[in-house]
């Protein structure tokens, strides 16, 4: 056993000398106090190296063993220090009281060094175990705080739905990849390229900040999963990772809301001489979703026919136009007003596709 530091608290010089002598002979360092008050002052003195065990007499002037024990157990810094009560011949009742108050053990005043060695050793082991436990709990607390911080940081970079998915139980399986019907929405700005060439870079950035500031909250409000945004364009999908039975309607409702909200922003920029309008393409179909990318940089992404179709439709859309695919129209028919926008021959698609332009939502509320 490695020697520890033991504080001997006893008002009688005889007892202190004897205990110090015995403790030293079995390899411990000692500190002495004549009463409880002195002991507490030593234990609370930051300049004093902390002790491992306290040997405490009961009957003492100034502050007796009971009061000292009470003060120790009430002090969060000292509460875990093992206290061994040292007792005289007929003090069994006092010992019981001390143990009820939290003392670890008791010893007679003239104790055999082997017993002293064993009892102090046991108390020190218990304390080390306790310290270890406390340390582990502290580490765990720090770890959990880090996870919490990472999760909230993650939520700033990912869609809230994806951030929640990462920390959920079935997150790994979902990230590994799955097939699901989704509605994908592509949105970008007409004339953005010429605007960014003509305007000052500060102006472009200022505009993008305002644009994202308006569009971002709308996506969150409609609970879309933002897959990516780059400059003026972004892609959002619905029905994944959170299931949304009305995903087609939601996507269209988001597009209509964006068009409405963008009107104010567009009008403001028109005054400065820049004509900017949004164009949206929406398509519904099966896609493979999950972790896409490479070690070091993954995104939660979607791959499939519907995504490509939505991107093509967004490219086809005129200023302020929301073009939707036939399957999206079929799914949202009751909730929207449309005008047929003709059959379009789109790049990568063998046959012309009938396309619809959304004019308005039929009801303001989303279907439940």
């Amino acid at each position: 056993m490695i020697g520890g530091r033991v504080l001997v608290v006893d008002d009688t010089a005889f007892n202190r000398r004897l205990l110090v002598r015995l403790l030293t002979s079995i390899g411990h360092e000692t500190l002495e106090a004549e009463n409880g008050r002195e002991a507490l002052a030593l234990l609370r003195d930051p300049a004093v190296v902390p002790v491992d065990v306290i040997l405490l007499d009961i009957v003492m002037p100034e502050m007796d063993g009971y009061e000292a024990l009470e003060a120790l157990k009430a002090d969060p810094q000292l509460r875990d220090l093992p206290v061994i009560v040292i007792t005289g011949v007929d003090e069994l009742a006092s010992v019981v009281r001390c143990i009820q108050m939290g003392a670890a053990d008791y010893l007679p005043k003239t104790v055999d060094p082997e017993i002293l060695r064993a009892r102090i050793g046991a108390s020190m082991s218990a304390k080390r175990l306790h310290d270890l436990e406390r340390e582990t709990l502290e580490q765990q607390r720090r770890l959990l705080a880090t996870i919490d911080r990472q999760r909230s940081e993650l939520a700033r970079f990912l869609s809230p739905q994806v951030a929640a998915l990462v920390s959920s139980d079935d997150g790994e399986a979902m990230l590994a990849g799955h097939r699901r019907e989704i509605t994908a929405m592509f949105c970008d700005l007409r004339n953005f390229t010429s605007f960014s060439e003509a305007a000052e870079p500060e102006e472009v950035l200022g505009f993008l900040r305002a644009y994202h500031g308006v569009m971002g909250p709308l996506i969150v409000e409609h609970e879309g999963t933002l897959e990516h945004f780059a400059g003026d364009g972004f892609m959002t999908f619905f029905n994944d990772p959170v299931l949304q039975p009305d995903h087609a309607t939601r996507a269209i409702a988001l597009a209509v809301a964006m068009r409405e909200r963008f009107a104010d922003l567009g009008a403001e920029w028109r005054k400065r001489g820049y004509v900017l309008e949004i164009g949206v393409g929406i398509a519904t179909g099966y896609a493979t979703l999950g972790r896409i990318g490479f070690e070091g940089r993954y995104d939660y992404g979607a791959v499939g026919h519907a995504i490509i179709l939505a991107a093509r439709l967004s490219g086809e859309a005129a200023a302020g136009e929301i073009l939707i695919a036939p399957r999206t129209y079929a799914a949202a028919e009751d909730a929207i007003e449309v005008q047929p926008a003709g059959d379009r021959q789109l790049k990568g698609f063998s046959r012309p596709i009938p396309v619809y332009a959304v004019t308005a939502m039929r009801t303001k509320e989303l279907a439940e």
Partner: protein, 118 residues
């Protein structure tokens, strides 16, 4: 009389637990003498004032250290005084403290005689 005053077993125990370090035990005994004088003074003062409460702590302390050194008679006398002190009524207060003083003197003589005889 001297056998009852000093229990050789307690003294031998003290010697055994210190690894037969006579020099240290002698120092310890001297500490006991110094301490006993202080406690007896406090007990004397308590008796003079008729203060039973003030008797408890010094009687307790002297009881304990006397037991450790093997002064059984003195330890027992102190135990009884401590117990009475706690009740608040100490019959023959001054007389019993005087007895303790006399017993201590005898203990001291016996211990010093033992030391001189080596």
């Amino acid at each position: 009389m001297s056998e009852a005053i000093l229990d050789p077993a307690a003294f031998a125990h003290l010697l055994a637990i210190t690894g037969d370090d006579l020099e240290f035990v002698d120092e310890l005994v001297d500490t006991y003498f110094d301490d006993a004088v202080i406690q007896l003074e406090a007990m004397r003062k308590a008796a003079e004032n008729g203060d039973a409460e003030a008797l408890v702590r010094p009687a307790h302390s002297l009881k304990s250290s006397s037991a450790n050194i093997g002064a059984s008679t003195l330890s027992e006398a102190c135990r009884s005084l401590e117990a009475d002190g706690r009740t608040g009524v100490v019959p023959d207060f001054a007389g019993r403290v005087t007895d303790c003083e006399a017993t201590f003197a005898a203990v001291r003589s016996a211990l010093l005689a033992e030391r001189a005889s080596r």
